[in-house]
Symmetry: D2
Subunit: 361 residues, 4 copies
């Protein structure tokens, strides 16, 4: 009976734990410093928007491509998961045409003929008549928006319902995690390393390629008429973004944002907050009925540190101090929208490890 420890309880860790737990016979323990319900700067998942806006280029589209069906199913059939459908307007700014509409944080989203148009149901390019003057082009389609804390709690609950034990602990070295497995004192056969930003400080990993991409947001009570918004750029600098999304189940509307590489500041910057609100109401005046940012009803200001990584996500197996580890970290801003695809890859690597291990017997 294979025994697993998943290290980390963000969206990546919990999704892996859930998928492992769905396989009969697996014993799964989630060990984490931070858990659903927490808001801590080391714990990125609750600070995310979150939604499905593919960023990968076609060559790397597997993770997002394979995640969409499950997010769509949850939005359609499982209201208690905290996911609902929303139209999205993906806007390509004229000023960004010379760079191919590529944001610092993403490549594929703003592509004029994106791979994901074949994946989602109702992709259409917006006609010129529906575009503001400063926009080169844009597209509309139906995506989802996720109430992050509600979804994280739902994931944790689904794990619990399948017998996963969730255990609060701080682990100094990735191999130590194996000893924290439930199930009669046996060490875990495999540790899934889903530690996100903390992978840069975790013993046995200490991945120097991991860095924060700081995202500041404003959560407001105003709603944006069921249409999410994202633009390929802003006038306020390369690390300043403009996007909005209304979370399911009364979760409020996220106004974003920033993508500040290497910036660890956990506190909201008051001037950045004003700029974010200004961009949002300019892009979607209906948020406040044309009353400007004074019409926003702020719930709170937020900061999350996207767990970015030079070289991109790391999903691979490694034997560390005698413990098999499958890494799954470095998702930057696409952790939710790639979560099921990445978990699928993790389970493939787990199968490889099981095969290797058995062959040695």
């Amino acid at each position: 009976m294979p025994n697993f420890v998943v290290l980390g309880a963000g969206v990546s860790g919990l999704t892996c734990a859930l998928q492992l737990a769905k396989q009969e016979g697996n014993v799964v323990t989630v060990v984490a410093k931070h858990m659903p319900g927490d808001y801590d700067i080391e714990y990125t998942s609750p600070w995310a928007g979150a939604n499905f806006l593919p960023m990968a280029l076609e060559a790397g589209s597997r993770y997002e491509r394979r995640t969409w069906p499950e997010l769509k199913r949850l939005a359609a059939e499982v209201p208690e998961a905290g996911i609902h459908f929303q139209k999205v307007h993906v806007m390509r700014c004229k000023k960004d045409e010379p760079t191919g509409f590529r944001l610092a944080l993403s490549d594929g989203l703003f592509a004029p003929d994106p791979w994901y148009k074949a994946v989602v149901d109702d992709y259409r390019e917006l006609p010129a008549s529906e575009l503001p003057a400063h926009m080169h082009s844009g597209a509309e389609w139906t995506s989802v928006c996720i109430n992050t804390t509600m979804y994280l709690c739902w994931l944790a609950g689904q794990c619990a319902a399948r017998g996963v034990v969730l255990k609060r602990a701080v682990v100094g070295h990735v191999a130590e995690a194996a000893a924290l497995a439930e199930g009669g004192g046996r060490r875990a056969d495999v540790v899934i390393n889903a530690t996100g930003l903390l992978a840069c400080r975790l013993g046995g990993v200490m991945d120097a390629a991991v860095y924060p991409a700081r995202g500041q947001t404003v959560l407001v009570r105003n709603e944006n008429a069921n249409t999410m918004y994202v633009a390929s750029g802003t006038d306020d600098g390369a690390d300043q973004l403009c996007y909005t999304m209304t979370r399911a189940a009364g979760g409020g509307t996220i106004l974003g944002g920033t993508y500040q590489k290497g910036n660890w500041d956990p506190n909201p910057d008051p001037n950045t907050a004003v700029a974010i609100m200004k961009r949002a109401v300019e892009a979607q005046p209906q948020l406040t009925g044309g009353r400007g940012i004074e019409g926003l009803d702020i719930i709170r200001h937020g900061v999350g540190l996207r767990p970015a990584r030079e070289g991109g996500v790391r999903i691979e197996k490694e034997l560390i101090d005698g413990v098999w580890v499958v890494h799954n970290y470095g998702h930057a801003g696409w952790g939710y929208q790639g979560s099921y695809g990445c978990a699928e890859h993790v389970l493939e690597l787990v199968d490889e490890i099981v095969a290797i291990t058995k062959s040695k017997l």
Copy 2:
């Protein structure tokens, strides 16, 4: 088809919404300034411990008595709700004997022969051999501990799964809430007022009897060996308490606390925090393996304002500006442990209103 607006998304509001939604034909909308997943000083529910430690005297025990079966069922059968069983040690301090072991915040909990011993399954008085020297007596029985944010999200999810719409809004007057009902533009037939502490500022209510009973806590990663603890008093003043409980699903252990009437301070006081930790490790040295408070691994400090009320909870119907309102607020520290019993009473009052309304036709 009766149409309801529940004003407030704490444990009281969500439980009422869920129970209403379980009745076929009801249309239910939850309207709230704060929602599950939020941490705001105006929103008490996530800051609670929470558990089942009855406080009522026998005469007023209906709400808690009628809540226990459902909490027990959830702990036993619905792991995704974030509730688990824990033993509790209820300790009566020798120094509190002259006052009948009554805390400021509770009457019945420390009674030597409590009504609830017939309600829970395994109540037993502790023999002298199991008591510390400064304890007059104590009891042990199996209660539950609730991971509050996980449970609030689960309640919201259960509502959503039954068609309840959760809507974020700030309402100035209780009668305005009726206009926010879903369901084709009809006004709500009844508004459930579950606004907690905010009932003191809500138009049409402005209940001057409502006041905060400030509770400061420390959430730690340490676990208390599956045994919750609560004492009838402390040496640090009448508004200082001592209790611990480990939340389900890796939610950490709450160390409490305080009961500071009329104190609105939303920020943790650093000296109170040290005193809380000291009392907790003295009562349960196993929390840190005898290493004192330096062995605690603090997740965060917290403050919640219990929505207390002179005269106790208010569950009654009232016609306000032509809108039928059922009040359900003023639960102080027993909101979770009385939630299903109070909702039952609310539904009875709703039935009375329906009867009155029909008789007028």
Copy 3:
């Protein structure tokens, strides 16, 4: 050799201590929970603007009238005190004419023919040509603006230079303070009670008439062309104010504000902050060169609780548990601008006590 303890190190306490220390032979100790350099919600003085904008009616104008000469002298001759001259525009809104232009927090400031026009040097009514359309009338004259932390530190320094000992301590009862006097173990002959808002919790005083009048502010780097601004009202409710002032010595510009009676919230409200900024740039567009609130460069958001009192300031002597006390608290929003006048009154009461005491010998 008379021996004094001044309880409290806000502007009221330090000014009294300084004036006492200037009298030869006095031994003075300042005992305080909070000291210059601190920012704590219990310690109002650093959160003030501060400036000289008389609020008293003529009958009660003594304290402000007697303070102006010293503030003017410091601005002119003592640059290290952190006070500089600024023009002020006092604006009477047309909409406030029916109420005689009286703000909740003040009576005399907006009087059309104020007593203080004979006190300041260059008072002039503004001609219609210099008034915005929604203003009934206005006046211009030269006042001062105080860099509060710099001035509090300067006061503390002047005390220290005259031998005053500043001692950090928390006192439970006003009479206990007498025992904390320096000077060879003697108890103080007189305690000056300058505890501000804390007077409502101080043993022996417990003044239930004291309440907070919460003021929220935004401190920005922008400067307002050397002209302070204050209006008799706003469109945002009776507890919302509009004023600006640029502090001396690079202290930034304070944008205000609010006057929220009975509100103890120590944390800035984000929506109030936006409203304050909007009102300020509408009143003084030059703050951001016409760029709106996005042109503000926010240093920080702030909250101070003005120590208000039903019945007004309390300056009187009282024998408490055998200790002579002179009270000097309840200044609401005019603590700085009445500081020297109040200290003068305190010293008169001290003289009365000395006379009484001697006569008993």
Copy 4:
């Protein structure tokens, strides 16, 4: 008439400005994002202890050696500056003997026969009878402790009294600062770059060798019997320190601390806070009369980011985009204790620039 802009208003900038202003004929403007009275994580000076505990090796001792006389003079003769004398116990731990008692942050302080014993007045090695068992050796002498905000305000005041203008502004490039000089529109002849940690982000400088050395502290009301304490190490890791000092003028007692290289976290860590308090009361039980950390009366928790630099302090002249700049940054933890020595060096470099400039005419 030479015209100077000093960029930065920490202790380094203000000391340079003051010394420049003392030279007849100089026009000096201080331009800074943060000013005395502020608490901001980018502004290190108020978060410092501060005191005089030399860290340099003898070869590099100039800055500290030349600063001591002025700090001593201020403590003796200028009480309003907020500096007072305190004994210090410098303790060398037995466990640190193998490494020569060298802390990460310092070299010379714990030297058994330090250069500074000839500089201070009353250095003596402690006899074994005065040492705790785990100490190898120790020394006692009279140093000073500085109330940082009071001293920064005093420095600003002394500048103002000598005609220095203090101007709040954010500068993107060091050469832009020259245009902000007071004095009739002339550009500054020399810019003093005293930007501390911000030197890593300042246009024209962008010094990648600058990094934070995070220091967490606890400020308490307890006093340590007039004896500062510092030990060569702790049992809690190389980045954990133990020192205490009581600030002048009721400024409270600083308990330290940490020296965490590369850590930008501006928020106090609650577990680190407990550890700091525990070490302090173990080292100086008299702080709480033997009552442990529960006897501490916490004023607040703090974090400052020492502006450290690979290669050490940078004091040198450079012509940047046509503007002469004298750098004075990278002081890590010795900014106060080297302030006058560094300013002296800065003035020498200014003289060199003046000579160069004149020779070109």
